[in-house]
Symmetry: C2
Subunit: 190 residues, 2 copies
């Protein structure tokens, strides 16, 4: 009795990866996903999200027994008590993760073996915007910079090309660097 070996690269099952791509090529509706979160305000700058279900690959996902729970907070200088990282910091975490995962995925598709990736992010923001002290100040991040230290079994040129490709295809990176509509609706209780 011999088990079939699982071909892995960068921690990804190459056969499953190719199968997913093939299935989506045949039926592009399977690529439509909806991600969700619920959030409840606690007090001041503290609030908490629960994240569990989502729709994708043609069905509601049932793989998660328990929700993920994350708490936003603010540091004392922003009137909080460090109850959690703050929302603009969580955005940096989302961006770092998405660029990294997109890079690792397409590296595997190209047969590039990644040894390590370490990233430092910094985002500049002028809080006159948030506080509405000057309506000419943009309230979002002015710019976000990422420095990625990547070790892999390929040339520097191949890494640079893959990094450009990654920026073009990372969902969070494109949600940040291009405009995405946010529709906010208030539930009216009658």
């Amino acid at each position: 009795m011999s088990a079939k070996p699982v071909l892995q690269l960068n921690g990804l099952d190459l056969e499953k990866m190719a199968g997913t791509a093939e299935a989506l090529k045949k039926d592009s509706v399977l690529a439509k996903f909806q991600f969700r979160a619920k959030n409840a305000w606690i007090s001041g700058g503290e609030n908490r999200s629960t994240i569990k279900d989502f729709y994708g690959a043609g069905a509601e996902d049932t793989s998660r027994g328990k929700p993920f729970v994350f708490t936003n907070g603010e540091p004392p200088v922003l009137l909080g008590d460090n109850e959690g990282a703050n929302p603009v910091e969580f955005l940096l975490h989302a961006l770092a993760g998405c660029v990294t995962t997109t890079f690792v995925l397409h590296a595997a598709a190209r047969g590039i073996r990644i040894e390590s990736i370490s990233t430092e992010l910094a985002g500049d923001i002028d809080l006159q915007g948030l506080l509405a002290l000057d309506e000419s100040v943009f309230p979002g991040y002015e710019q976000i910079r990422m420095k990625m230290d990547i070790k892999a079994d390929c040339s520097d040129e191949a890494l640079d090309e893959l990094l450009r490709f990654t920026q073009k295809h990372s969902p969070v990176c494109n949600t940040v660097c291009r405009p995405v509509p946010v529709v906010v609706e208030r539930v009216v209780n009658r």
Copy 2:
């Protein structure tokens, strides 16, 4: 001996809030903040961020003894093992938190007492973009919808007006709905 009472609204110290606004009006350089994150790849779609220091109000912040640590993961349908929420889900958490905190802050500034805020978010995304199966498909969220259930001691009209004001001033909301440059640089090891 009598302690001066702390005037609070929505969990925010109103005196400290007014003081912060006054200080920033006098010296707008104090409003310049830089937030940061470090991220390290683990395997496949799993990676981890640490968030601790930032610059703001004219100084490096020293209020956090330990870093916040967050793990990105992917569900099985996206080749992972639910090691954590995934990056596009963390972005929803960041957005929910920022809109909520911006709303609560400006409610306090207007003397509106918030009783509760519960928010549901849903974001649509076509993974043909991430997977580079169709270059015409936008890789980011197509749209994000937020439904906010808000209870407060003011009229529906005042809530609607405050919600429009919030959308215009929330840092994460504006980082999403308007284009923000992301500069990715590879560290070259010599």
